[in-house]
Each structure stands twice: as C-alpha cells, then as structure tokens.
C-alpha cells in the first residue's frame, strides 16, 4: 500500500485500488501524464476507471499525453480548509483542458484535469497571473520513490481564445 504524506494529508493507495495504484507511479517513473485509453474505441479518459464510458469495454492501456493544455476554469482559495494549505493561501486550483481529444466524442466532452497552478518551484502561482484561456503544461512533484503529483505551470504560448480573469 502506498501511503504518502503531503501538506498534512495522508494520501492512501491500497494495492487493491486498481484505479489509482499505477497512476502516480507512472507519473513518477516517466514525468509524463499517462491516461487510460480504451483498447476497443481508443478514447482516453480521466480519472482512471475500469470501464470505458463510451463503449463499455473493460480493456484498456496507459497512453501518454503531451501534458499541454489551457485553463478552462479556476478558483482561488483564500480560506484553506486543510491545515496544510493555510501557508499556501491564496492558491489557485485550475481545471485544465488537455490538448488531446478536445470536443470528442461529443462537442461538450474533453479531458479535463484538476490541479494547482504552480511556479516551477512548486509554489502557488500569484493570483494576478491566473486566468481562463492561459496555456499551461504538466509538471511533476516527486513525493516518494513511487509517487509524483502532477501539477500545472504557465507557459509562454499564446492563449486559447479569450483570456478572462475574475474581476476583484
């Protein structure tokens, strides 16, 4: 069983957690974002799941994605709930839409991932720099020999559509 201490939290992955047991291990080993892809229809999904949401196949394989994407939505936490996040406030939680499989198989679907927007030093990115539309890439924070936490950091690429920041 993997048990990782991070920001005062105990992240627990028992060996029988067949959804998650490889996810963070692969992130640590490859420093790439790996998603489950259906062997029957080829579509990727996140979070990792046993069945394919589109064709019900139970056959899947891990597939790397580029880790590139843009901020689809976000929030800025000023009042932390978890004690270990208090020294991080204000910190941004971002919903990142990945570059692969956008609008597939239906226009409203996409691979979207929750993470923090961090600096390359894994500190929270200042609030003034967080906005919908900005381009990001995945970065990996090693927490244990078999566990890395995928996060996102800003890139210099041109934004995706309209850049919008919460006024205030």
């Amino acid at each position: 069983m993997a048990s990782v201490e991070y920001r005062g939290m105990n992240l627990v992955i028992p060996e029988n957690d067949s959804e998650w047991r490889e996810h963070f291990k692969l992130a640590r080993a490859n420093h790439r974002l790996m998603l489950r892809a259906c062997k029957a229809c080829g579509l990727m999904r996140y979070p990792p799941s046993h069945g394919c949401p589109w064709c019900m196949s139970l056959e899947w394989e891990w597939k790397p994605v580029s880790g590139g994407g843009h901020i689809y939505s976000y929030e800025v936490v000023h009042h932390a709930i978890q004690p270990g996040f208090k020294e991080w406030t204000p910190y941004a939680v971002v919903l990142v839409e990945l570059d692969e499989q956008r609008g597939a198989p239906t226009p409203d679907e996409a691979l979207r991932v929750i993470a923090n927007l961090v600096t390359p030093e894994f500190r929270p990115e200042p609030e003034a720099n967080v906005a919908i539309g900005k381009r990001v890439r995945a970065v990996f924070q090693d927490l244990a020999p078999d566990f890395a936490l995928p996060q996102f950091t800003l890139t210099d690429e041109p934004p995706e559509g309209r850049v919008w920041r919460f006024p205030g």
Binding site: E19, Y91, F166
Partner: protein, 403 residues
C-alpha cells in the same frame, strides 16, 4: 405521472437552529419527528415507516422510532446530503405504493456545526485521502465551495454573470429570514455587505456561503386518502425527481458544459409528471448552499433563459412581494443548514397558508402580507410550489406540490 396527487405531505417539524445543540443527533431527530407527527395529528401508531439520510454523521431511523414507541414496518437510511429530501419523498411514495407501509417519516439530523462540520474543517479535513478523492483533494479542493467554484467561475466567463447579481440571492433570503422567528441569522444584508465580505474561495465571498448549524428536520408522507382525515390541509405531491445526474457524476468536469447542472435533465421528469410549466409555480425553493446554486438551478429549470440567472435573481422576482419568491424562510444562507428538508417544510407551510412568521394569527391563516422586518412572510394565494434540490452541479432533485 400515475401517482400525481395521490400522495401528500401531512406533517412537518424541526428543532431549534443553533450552533450548540449540546445533544445527540438521536435526541434531535426524536424531537423533530415528534413535532412533525404532532403537526399531522398522528400518534405513535400513525407512522410505520421511517427514512433518513446522512453521511456517517447521524443516527439511524431504527434508533429513533423506538424512542417514540413506533414499531416500523419499513425503514431505510441512505448516504447523502443535499437533494436527498425530494428523492426520499419519492421513495416513500414507492414504499407505500408497494404496500410495505402506509405512512413514512423522513428526517435529517445533524450537528453540522458543533460536531461534523459540513464545511469540511475539523475532523473532516484530517481524513485520509483515497479513491476518487485523489483527483481533487490533494490540490486543496475539498469543501463544497471549493468543489463548485470552477462551475461558478465559468458561468461568469460565459455569461457575464457578476458577483453583485448573485449577491441579491443573499439579500433576498436575509429579507425573508428577518420575518422568520426560527432563523439563525435574522439581520438583513445589502449587496455591498455581500461583496464586501471576506473571500472564502473566489468567486465566493463569505456571505455567498450558507451557514453551518446543528438541527434536525422532519416531514411525513402518506396517501391522499389517509391525508384527508388528518389535522392539517393535505399538501399534494404533483411531481418528483430524485438524484438526477449529468453524465460523469464522478468527475463532471469531463462532460460539459460545466455551467450546466442536473436540473437540465430533471426538469422534464418533474414538470412532465406535474403537467405544469415554470410560469405556473408561485414559490420556489432553490437550494442555497451558495448564492450561485440558487441562481444556476432557477435558470436550468427554465424560470429564465440559460445564462440569464444573474438578471433573474437580481430583478426582485425572488423576493417576498416579487413575482415568484424563493426560499421564503431564509433557508440555508440564513435560517440554518439542513441539507434541504427545511426548504420543503417551508413550502408545505406556504401552501397551507400557515407560515410561522410574526403575524399573531399565522396558525389560523391570518397574515398581514406586510413584508417589512419582523412582520409577515406568507405569500398571498400560493397554489403551487417547487423545490429544486442540489447535491452538486451534476446531481439534483425536484419536487412540485400544490394545496
């Protein structure tokens, strides 16, 4: 639906809304269920079914019933919070229809402030993170507000919704609470108060968020035939939808638009059963875990166009005296946090014409309709009410009732 008007809510009751109940969820549940039974005029032999919902923080139905001398033919405790009320009303109808029992009491009892903080602080923040929680909690996204905020933010991006517009939900509900002797917060607030309150999780200010309180709430469902012989005017159930979901409820971000909420799917079920349209509804009870949740549901159920929720909630429509008041008790933002039953209780009282406001004759249905502070909160001629229950953006329930 085949069961339209065949079942009624016949009794409602609650405990005090406080932050220091100093007693068990069992004791509070017993009091709330007893109050609902007395309201209905039912003795211990009048109830033979009991249901509750909880999240590992409360007592079970088969511990509450014996404290009141009730022998149960049916009970069921389910896991869940908001949007469970309407779902359990539908399940109670089904249990009675199946012949398993004849009258069901439904309760929710919680020390939501003094024990299991609903906001997720205290003991809840220290729980190990496993399973699906690994997709969000390691990133400091644990509380309800943190879980919902990207939906609210995207709504502002897509539709131009403003903080000032949604602040009107708090303004309206605080106005209603000022006419509710039971309300935990009775002071009226302004838009400036809301947008000037401290940040919790942008775009949420403190006053965009509901209360955390200790309380138990209960209601009683039985058949229309039995209802006619009871103490209060029967309130008929016209339609119900329970825990309707968007695709990918586990991680609803995967299937957009993320500004869409479960009402998109629930509305056709519940309006179809009731055979009415949004315009026929006199009073709404749109779940106010946050100002935004009230707004999102009202637009999704068709009380205004999608994207125009900000205008709708800031137009005066949802205030007492407006065209279609919402949450006339002040509900979760101001009255107390109950995971939804209190909003159904309030609408039952509205339909009876017996809202427990400051009017001396409220129990006899005598109201002044003076909506100034400390006065009346009865809606004149309320005929049809609708509850819009919220669990999270992808899960919701709905209930339409009439008198």
């Amino acid at each position: 639906m085949a069961l339209k008007d065949k079942y009624c809510i016949v009794g409602v009751g609650e405990t005090e809304y406080s932050r220091q109940s100093a007693r068990s969820t069992r004791a509070m549940a017993v009091e709330a269920v007893r109050n609902a039974m007395r309201d209905a005029g039912l003795g211990k032999d009048g109830v033979d079914g009991m249901m509750s919902y909880q999240s590992g923080d409360s007592v079970f139905a088969n511990w509450v019933a014996p404290d009141l001398g009730i022998r149960l033919n049916f009970y069921m405790d389910v896991f869940g919070g908001g949007s469970s009320t309407e779902a359990l009303v539908g399940l109670a109808m089904g249990a009675i229809e199946a012949g398993m029992c004849h009258t069901v009491a439904i309760f929710r009892s919680m020390n939501g402030y003094s024990d299991f903080r609903i906001g997720g602080t205290g003991a809840r923040a220290a729980q190990p993170v496993r399973g699906l929680d690994l997709a969000q909690v390691p990133f400091g996204m644990r509380s309800a507000g943190q879980n919902f905020a990207p939906t609210f933010m995207r709504h502002m991006y897509e539709y131009g919704t403003t903080s000032e517009q949604v602040a009107h939900v708090r303004v309206a509900h605080s106005k209603h609470a000022s006419q509710n002797p039971k309300a935990f917060l009775k002071d009226r607030v302004t838009v400036a108060d809301v947008v000037g309150s401290r940040w919790i999780c942008k775009p949420l200010h403190l006053l965009d968020c509901c209360l955390e309180t200790d309380n138990a709430t209960a209601l009683i469902v039985t058949s229309a035939e039995r209802a006619r012989n009871l103490r209060r005017k029967p309130i008929y159930i016209m339609g119900v939808a329970g825990r309707v979901n968007k695709p990918r409820t586990d991680f609803h971000w995967a299937h957009g638009p993320i500004t869409r909420v479960a009402g998109y799917h629930a509305k056709d079920i519940v309006f179809g059963q009731a055979g009415i349209k949004p315009d026929d509804v006199n009073v709404t009870g749109s779940y106010d875990a946050f100002t935004f949740t009230t707004m999102l549901q009202l637009e999704e159920y068709g009380f205004c166009k999608k994207g125009e929720g900000g205008q709708y909630v800031s137009s005066g429509t949802i205030e007492l005296g407006g065209k279609r008041p919402n949450n006339t008790s002040g509900s979760h933002l101001c009255e107390g946090y109950t995971h939804g039953i209190s909003m159904v209780i309030e609408n039952v009282r509205q339909l009876r014409g017996q809202v427990d406001d400051y009017c001396p004759g409220w129990e006899d249905g005598k109201h002044s309709y003076d909506y100034s502070p400390g006065k009346c909160r009865q809606v004149k001629d309320a005929r049809i009410t609708m509850n819009l229950g919220w669990a999270m953006p992808p899960t919701g329930s709905a209930l339409i009732m009439r008198n």
